[in-house]
């Protein structure tokens, strides 16, 4: 108890200290327009986990104002916390996937990812079918571009953040700008990331994307329902990643990629709920995870509902 109190006090001091800094800096630039003050607040904003409810609400309101003005749509910004007794899991039926990339485009739109430079959180890998064996990742092709899919003799494996139970990316971050939430989702505080890209070197699944340039999102395609840790617009020089559509999943909705899949290859649900579809798949299908040998324990499973996937 006394420990908690101590912690609270130090938090308060820190916040006060930073508020003082912000005010001081703002005073220096007087007469400052609101935009400048907002930029200062943003620069001195604390780590997400150190914001109290009041701070967070204020930040979300400002974010709504800013984005509503910028994109000409009524924006709703939330920071919905994880639900109790929920850990999200994902399963992908490789025998169904036809490589159409509908999930990729739905994800880009839903998550307000930059169109130029182009950022895609889901990568669909194409493999040449081989009668004898399942081919290694080194034989994959991300840039396939036929007139029609699926092509005869090809397999497709979509890859996105595997939401590892032991995420190597989280461990290496020097400023804890990325962490695992209670519901298993690994998130990034885009305002805290310093852009060192150590997490990208550490991720075994190529699941993290860096904003090498200033992100650009067309106004008409902007998704106005945003979550602070998810699909809000990102910044130049920071890292982003799939969050299982945190803005949807925490409200009990399917992710955009699940909804977009025309063949029903994508399954999503609560691993803690014994009656969920995801649990049914884990219990009744032969599932596997990518790169099991390095033991990151992904919560993203692959399976074949039909055949073995290696016949031609």
């Amino acid at each position: 108890m006394s420990d908690n109190k101590k912690k609270d006090n130090s938090q308060l001091t820190r916040r006060k200290f930073l508020a003082g800094l912000t005010a001081g800096a703002a005073a220096l630039t007087l007469p400052a327009v609101n935009a400048d003050a907002y930029m200062m607040e943003e620069y001195f904003r604390q780590h997400y986990k150190r914001l109290d409810k009041e701070d967070l609400n204020e930040i979300l309101t400002k974010l709504e104002e800013e984005l509503t003005f910028k994109y000409g749509k009524k924006v709703t910004a939330t920071a919905t916390p994880p639900m109790d007794d929920v850990v999200f899991g994902y399963a992908l039926d490789l025998s169904r996937c036809i490589g159409c990339r509908k999930c990729v485009y739905a994800c880009v739109k839903e998550n307000n990812l930059s169109r130029d430079p182009q950022i895609q959180w889901i990568k669909v890998l194409e493999f040449q079918k081989d009668n004898k064996k399942w081919q290694g990742l080194e034989h994959s092709n991300k840039y396939y571009n036929p007139k029609k899919v699926p092509e005869k003799g090809k397999n497709y494996v979509p890859v996105q953040c595997q939401q590892c139970e032991k995420p190597p990316c989280v461990k290496v971050c020097p400023v804890q700008a990325t962490w695992q939430e209670k519901d298993g989702i690994v998130v990034v505080d885009y305002n805290w990331c310093i852009g060192c890209r150590f997490c990208m070197a550490a991720c075994p699944y190529g699941a993290r994307n860096f904003n090498w340039g200033k992100p650009s999102i067309p106004k008409e395609e902007f998704n106005p329902n945003i979550h602070y840790l998810g699909n809000r617009p990102q910044y130049k020089g920071t890292v982003g990643k799939c969050t299982f559509c945190i803005q949807r999943s925490r409200k009990g909705r399917y992710t955009a990629c699940v909804e977009a899949c025309p063949v029903g290859a994508r399954k999503f649900g609560n691993l803690m709920d014994p009656k969920s579809e995801i649990r049914y798949i884990l219990e009744n299908m032969k599932v596997f995870r990518l790169k099991e040998e390095i033991d990151t324990k992904p919560k993203f499973f692959y399976f074949f509902s039909m055949g073995t996937g290696v016949k031609s």
Partner: protein
């Protein structure tokens, strides 16, 4: 006294012969070109470089890695002089420490340049920010690099101040710090190796041999650089550096290169004989992979240069010939620069974790910015060495009054 000293030092730095001025002018031009490109990079973001998601660290981190080695190499002089009391090296040990200061400064510049949001550096400051220690190896690197910088600065400034005042500087106060600088030097390169080898996602790096290989190669490239600089210094200044000192350093380097090549051989055997899927980046580097062979000429010339340097250095009669020694030093500097730079960082990402081959090479902007950093580093080194030599030779201060056994 202090004001006088500062005035005198200022005069030493701002005056010099034509060669000194041309050298500093040349470096300033390079630095300014580099800085102008930094503005472009800040404006556009790191998209101005050739790095992309597939190869997310490139030329900057390659240079950083090499320079950590250069910085660590100061101990090659510290150990024989301070610990084994090998006197001839006493004249040059401070120059080695100044090189360490310059090299660590360059390391920190390269890190800042590589950060996508460097303006948020305060997030790293404990208490007001979050310093993820001990979890993140990067925070260990921040600690040891800054500690090593401060340590070497302290050693150099203390020694020069004492010498300036005409007093011996091997005192009870400073000796513990000097002894501490030995493990500190090892630590900066070990921790830097741990940055890479701790990543199971990157099989090319994920080998325990990486840290000892880092140390062995660092003790080749650093002294190689210094051996050439010492010869320039004794030709252009009044500082006397005995042949014996240079020969001793060359002898140490010969054995470090032997260890380096041995460790490399062990790694080559392990990869090629076991021939698992992990051999892909290895093949990309050494032989080319599915038609992508842009690193192949670099790594082969590097390993040939290192081997030739070893052959030259291992025979005492040959390494005592300064012409041959300098060739060996040039070869080693090139060899380690390629091996620890592009030869280590690029293949870590190629092929990528999903098997993609992205043929990364730095673009013009990255090359100019890196040259600019090197220019600034060399300026720091030149100025530091000039002050050091002026004080040691008694041009300013009272060095000549120090009893001769020190």
């Amino acid at each position: 006294m202090l004001i006088d000293a500062i005035n005198e030092i200022f005069k030493i730095v701002t005056t010099g012969n034509k060669k000194y001025k041309m050298w500093m002018g040349f470096l300033s031009v390079l630095a300014l070109i580099g800085i102008s490109f930094v503005f472009t990079q800040i404006d556009q973001g790191l998209i101005a470089t050739n790095m992309r998601d597939q190869v997310s660290w490139g030329w900057y981190i390659a240079n950083f890695t090499f320079l950590v080695g250069l910085a660590a190499a100061a101990v090659v002089l510290v150990i024989p002089y301070y610990i084994y009391n090998y006197k001839p090296i006493g004249e040059i040990v401070l120059i080695g420490e100044i090189m360490a200061v310059a090299a660590v400064s360059m390391c920190l510049m390269f890190i800042l340049l590589d950060m996508g949001s460097a303006e948020r550096f305060w997030h790293l400051i404990p208490y007001i920010g979050i310093f993820n220690w001990p979890g993140s190896i990067l925070t260990w690197d921040v600690i040891v690099l800054n500690m090593y910088l401060v340590l070497n600065l302290t050693l150099v400034i203390y020694a020069l101040a004492k010498t300036y005042a005409g007093k011996p500087y091997k005192t009870k106060f400073i000796m513990p710090l000097i002894f501490f600088s030995v493990p500190a030097a090892i630590s900066i390169h070990t921790v830097t190796a741990f940055l890479y080898l701790g990543a199971p996602a990157r099989p090319f790096w994920n080998a325990a041999i990486l840290a000892p290989r880092f140390i062995a190669s660092a003790f080749c490239s650093g002294p190689a650089f210094m051996l050439i600089v010492f010869q320039i210094i004794r030709k252009t200044t009044k500082l006397k550096i005995e042949d014996k000192a240079l020969h001793k350093v060359a002898e140490i380097v010969a054995w470090c290169m032997a260890v380096n090549l041995f460790l490399l051989g062990s790694e080559v055997f392990k990869e090629m004989y076991s021939a698992t899927a992990h051999i892909e980046p290895f093949n990309y580097l050494w032989f080319g992979l599915r038609g992508n062979d842009q690193l192949v000429p670099w790594i082969w010339t590097a390993v040939i240069a290192n081997s030739l340097a070893f052959l030259i250095l291992i025979v005492p009669s040959i390494r005592k010939n300064f012409f041959m020694l300098n060739i060996a030093c040039g070869f080693m500097f090139y060899g380690v620069y390629i091996e620890k730079g592009m030869g280590l960082i690029f293949p870590g990402f190629i092929p990528g974790t999903l098997g993609e081959i992205y043929n990364y090479m730095p673009n013009t902007l990255e090359l100019w910015i890196s040259l600019g950093v090197w220019a600034i580093g060399l300026m720091i080194f030149t100025v530091g060495a000039k002050i050091c030599i002026a004080i040691k030779t008694g041009e300013i201060g009272h060095a000549l009054e120090i009893p001769s056994d020190h």
